[in-house]
């Protein structure tokens, strides 16, 4: 079947079968290698994408479920100012994530701040359960996300002036 959807802001189509995972289609048909497909059961978080604005593990989404929807991968998100807030905010807080989890932590932080501009530590830890990795102390990640939230709100405030 041929499905059409919006991928990182562009209208695209793909010929898929029901057996195809969304993560595989994104990697193999569209060359979006920031989307990994490691655990294939939705646990590792390396395949996180925004599907109609919601963060989902694309390895447990069949490609057909993308029909008519909008998908943003880390490649698309990296072109936004919010992405810079997150990477710079993490850097300022002295948090260096590893190659395993950096994209997923960025996507999880982005999803959280979109709906919760001032998240509590509990909300941050809950959100980052979608991007599990032991490379960084959870307390440090909480502080880093709070720093990102601060940086982002300042930028949005200055833009509004």
């Amino acid at each position: 079947m041929t499905i059409s959807f919006i991928l990182n802001g562009e209208d695209v189509s793909a010929n898929t079968r029901s057996v195809d995972r969304l993560s595989d289609i994104l990697r193999e048909r569209f060359g979006l290698l920031g989307v990994r497909s490691d655990c294939r059961c939705g646990r590792c978080g390396r395949c996180l994408v925004f599907l109609n604005g919601r963060l989902v593990p694309s390895c447990i989404v069949p490609a057909f479920a993308a029909k008519g929807k909008e998908i943003i991968t880390i490649e698309g998100y990296a072109l936004t100012e919010d992405y810079i807030d997150i990477t710079e905010g993490f850097k300022d807080a002295g948090v260096a994530t590893c190659g395993f989890c950096d994209a997923s932590k960025i996507m999880a932080t982005a999803a959280l701040l979109e709906h919760t501009p001032r998240p509590s530590p509990e909300q941050i830890l809950d959100q980052l359960s979608s991007a599990p990795c032991r490379c960084t102390d959870p307390e440090a990640v909480v502080k880093a996300v709070q720093a990102v939230a601060e940086r982002r709100s300042k930028r949005l405030y200055h833009r509004a002036l």
Binding site: V19, R21, C41, R43, V56, I60, A111
Partner: protein, 275 residues
């Protein structure tokens, strides 16, 4: 691996028409339960699949004076977004404990209830709340108590041939409640289950009591609950121990580990009524 025919109905009437013509078709919404155990390269699905995730009739949720009504394709995240003012605490605590936040964005309320391989986390809570589910086919709608979705041997018994469209949760006040996940895994496994308890008192008398426990098997005894309702509160320590003991026989269907935890949780729940 063979590819399936995926049907994308535009509305409920079309979905029911497909279901009528192909009663054995796989109904697919979030797909988390179907895909979580398929770690291979491709996804194995039956020959025909009915994709209902985007049906507008199944995506609504709201509050009336007497009920919380949830469309079957509402995700667990969307359910939580209704807020604590709309959700019974038992339900919000349970929903918050389901998977990671990204899984909750995919998993639907209907999928959690209609799972046939085991009881998922929402069942014991909805059983405690005496929730109803609406099953639709071309002949019309049937409302069924969640407690009836269990076979005689305690296994899931979701009816074949109908489409789960809505869940209706009565709005009631509870004076005491407890919900606990049992087992070490965050994901459904043989030794995971969920315990749910709710009680209400009026003028120092226990007027409502509900206890449900479910994992691979479901446990709820309205006969035992009826035997305890009507007692004066607070319960004495002796009564707490006696009532907890009365649940031990029910637990014999469970594995030893789950049975021990179930009886301990029943005891803990009655302790709440002893204060």
């Amino acid at each position: 691996m063979r590819s399936s025919n995926v049907h994308f109905p535009k509305d409920l009437a079309e979905a029911l028409d497909v279901l009528h013509r192909q009663p054995g078709i796989l109904i697919f919404a979030g797909g988390t339960d179907i895909l979580r155990e398929q770690g291979g390269r491709g996804i194995a699905l039956p020959e025909d699949v009915l994709y209902v995730r985007d049906l507008p009739e199944l995506r609504r949720a709201g509050l009336t004076e007497r009920f919380l009504e949830i469309g079957a394709a509402v995700t667990v995240s969307e359910l939580l977004e209704l807020g604590n003012a709309a959700l019974p605490p038992l339900l919000s605590e349970t929903a918050y404990g389901i998977g990671s936040s990204a899984i909750r964005n995919l998993a639907t309320v209907g999928g959690n209830i209609a799972c046939r391989s085991r009881f998922m986390d929402l069942w014991p809570v909805l059983a405690c709340l005496d929730a109803l589910v609406e099953l639709r086919d071309q002949g019309g709608a049937t409302w069924m108590n969640v407690n009836r979705l269990v076979s005689e041997n305690g296994k899931p018994a979701f009816p074949e041939g109908g489409l789960l469209t809505r869940v209706r949760v009565p709005i009631e006040h509870w004076d005491a409640y407890l919900v606990r996940k049992v087992g070490l895994s965050d994901y459904p496994a043989p030794e995971t289950a969920l315990f749910s308890f709710a009680a209400r008192a009026e003028k120092g008398i226990l007027v409502e009591l509900r206890i449900a426990f479910a994992g691979e098997l479901a446990i709820r005894s309205q006969a035992l609950e009826s035997g305890i309702i009507g007692r004066s509160l607070p319960l004495s320590q002796r009564e707490c121990a006696q009532f907890a003991e009365s649940y031990r026989e029910l637990a014999s269907a469970l594995s030893e580990g789950l049975a021990l935890q179930f009886v301990a949780l029943v005891g803990g729940a009655f302790e709440l009524l002893a204060r």
